[in-house]
């Protein structure tokens, strides 16, 4: 095994471990911190089916954002959809023989990487031109966008311009999954792409990217509006 392969094999395992442990630890924290009072943002659903529907609208369509800021919604929604499709397409690297459904999705050439990049660039631009968001933006907001743009750019390069050998990538990834390290494709663009993704995974649990899991624990959105009907009690807040 070459030094590079060894390095990246270890790097990948560390990154995935940090991501999983960090993400789950955060989620555990959100899940176990009590909500002493009923604070749903009303009008709110009066039963849990309604709450699921509300969440689906928020997570699936960014409903509040849609009514709040159409411009940011367009950028944000495109970006997230493109990201989702890209992640799904990448799943093919994890299967020895690509499942039919996945192959079918992958067969559509919709330049999703370009949409992803474009949406990110748009969001970057918006941060700069709207004085309110420019004021709010922190270093990490720009860094994340640049990071994602670089990932998109290198991904696009490997796919359309300096084509990386997909078979070799697949072997490498399968090796990781099956704990039987295989040689990493030495293609520099691919290596950069892969490095950035791993770095992002490591940063993920410590960053605002936790909004992905955190939204499900937002009390104003996930609580049932039934304060009068059902007495809500949490451990520290009991007392007669």
């Amino acid at each position: 095994m070459s030094g590079l392969t060894l390095l990246y094999t270890l790097f990948a395992y560390v990154a995935i471990a940090v991501f999983l442990v960090g993400f789950l630890a955060r989620i555990w924290k959100y899940a176990t911190t009590p909500s002493p009072l009923k604070i749903p943002l009303t009008p709110a659903p009066v039963n849990s089916v309604g709450v699921v529907y509300r969440m689906v609208q928020e997570v699936g369509f960014f409903k509040s954002l849609f009514y709040s800021n159409r411009i940011i919604w367009i950028g944000g929604y495109l970006m997230h959809i493109a990201l989702l499709i890209t992640i799904v397409k990448h799943l093919r690297f994890f299967f020895k023989t690509t499942p039919a459904a996945l192959a079918w999705i992958t067969s559509f050439e919709i330049y999703v990487g370009f949409i992803f990049f474009g949406a990110l660039a748009f969001l970057f631009l918006m941060r700069l031109v709207i004085d309110r968001t420019y004021y709010l933006s922190l270093m990490q907001d720009y860094v994340l966008l640049i990071f994602l743009m670089l990932i998109a750019a290198t991904g696009i390069l490997t796919k359309y311009y300096v084509r990386t050998d997909i078979i070799k990538v697949k072997q490498f990834v399968m090796g990781l999954v099956q704990f039987r390290p295989e040689a990493i494709p030495g293609d520099p663009i691919f290596i950069i792409h892969f490095t950035l993704v791993l770095l992002l995974l490591i940063y993920f649990p410590f960053s605002k990217l936790m909004h992905s899991g955190g939204i499900f624990f937002s009390p104003t959105r996930n609580q049932v509006d039934d304060a009068r009907e059902v007495r809500h009690v949490t451990p520290w807040a009991v007392k007669g």
């Binding site: 968001t133 709010l136 270093m139 955190g214």
Partner: protein
Amino acid sequence: MAEEITTTEEKTVDKDIAALLTSPPKRAPEPTPELTGKIVKPKIVQGAAAHYKPHVAKPEIQEKLGFPGTLVENWQEAAVAKMRELLGKYKSLQVYMDICVRCGSCTDKCQYFLSTRDPKNMPAGRAELFRQVYRKYFTTEGKIFGKLAGAVDFDLSLLAEWYSYFHQCSQCRRCSLYCPYGIDTAEISMAAREIMDSIGLGQKYTNEIIGKVHELGNNLGMNEAALRNAIEFVEEEIEEDTGVPVKLPINEEDAEVLLVTPSADFFATPHLESLVGYAKVFHQAGINWTLSTTAAEAGNFGMFVGSYYHMQKIASRIKQAIEELRPKRLVVGECGHAWRVAYAFWNTLIGPFDMLNQKYPRPQHICEFTLDLINRGALKIDKSANDEFVVTFHDSCNVARATRMGDKPGGQFDIPRELIKAVTNKYVDMEYDTIRERTFCCGGGGGLLTDELIDVRVKGAMPRMQALHNVMETHGVNFMALICAICKAQFTKIMPKYGIPMEVAGGVHQLVGRAIVLGAKE
């Protein structure tokens, strides 16, 4: 002096402890925003609202509530420790600290930003003051990258900003409605105030009132004799007016209904008119009811300072009154934040209400109660008594975004409107973006209803004033119906500054009271 304060570009927060603890200097009133009928998104002006702050509570007030009398020696350490405690106690705070992506979609939704233009009055800008400390002491990112990542030492100038800007938030939750994750800056400002109280930096207005309600049972600090006098006076007024002896029973045992209403209803104008309305409703429906001197206050300022302890202690008076008087139903008068505490928190704080009749909501809002009577034909109504009015309705933000009336989501919008339409002939709504869950705050909620914050209050009311101005111009509206004691006090005070007569503000039950035909049933 007045000249230099119009809009300061530099931040003028206090630089030392002495300055932080002293009251704001007396200033000439700032100009009232112009009524153009439009709510525009302003360009930001940094530091434009940095000079506002409420009076700091004196040691006597603080100590009565169990808070340190004045800023403690090791305040920074103590504040961080308190923050740790609250992060562990409130999911809202913990999650909201982490998940803001600074997308900016809340930034133009707060009435205080829209009018002051200060970016620290944008909801995420306000919360950022809290997050700066959170990052510094609780996040890996902040510990490694420090200032670069927006982590800031909790120093005196940041504390001064906390004191200023967390008292320019009425906890109206408008930001939460428009945030993709529902981040509720009200939760954050409550936590900030709780932390400040715990290190001895309290707000005089709110904490004084919490002290009064603990001591005397109402926010106005009236003793029982004064209360009884006031109620007698109301009875005389009604009889003089109508010739009918309508009673306002006090401390009657075993009545059907216990009415808990904000104490302002007993003394203030136009609040009194709503009290008259409630009394007429009970009288005419023939429902045996009572007020209680133990529970002569529906308001609960414990919420404004984020104190679960004080909120529960204040609410426990209601429970005590129920035990003393054994009513079958519990009805709450017109008050926004009070209805939030009653509707959403009472069951947790002082429930379960097993001793009350389960056939009715526990508690029930006076609008639910009255509309139900009207729908069942229990009241005779003469709408023409209100013909001099073209009415609109201001959705109190606490009622709109934190509670419900009736069984269906949105009942909190429909029930008061149906009630108004049942007692008046002419009703129009204000602009779409300013009503129902999208409503703007009156500008005086959340513990801001104090004289030294008058400039903040006048500005905070700007979006509502624009919308009201529009319907006054286009539809001849001359009455804005309210269901909140604070809204009533705020609007009657600030509307004249906008050139709108204060009589335009009044209670929903003021209209009900005028339209009820007394003695007509028999």
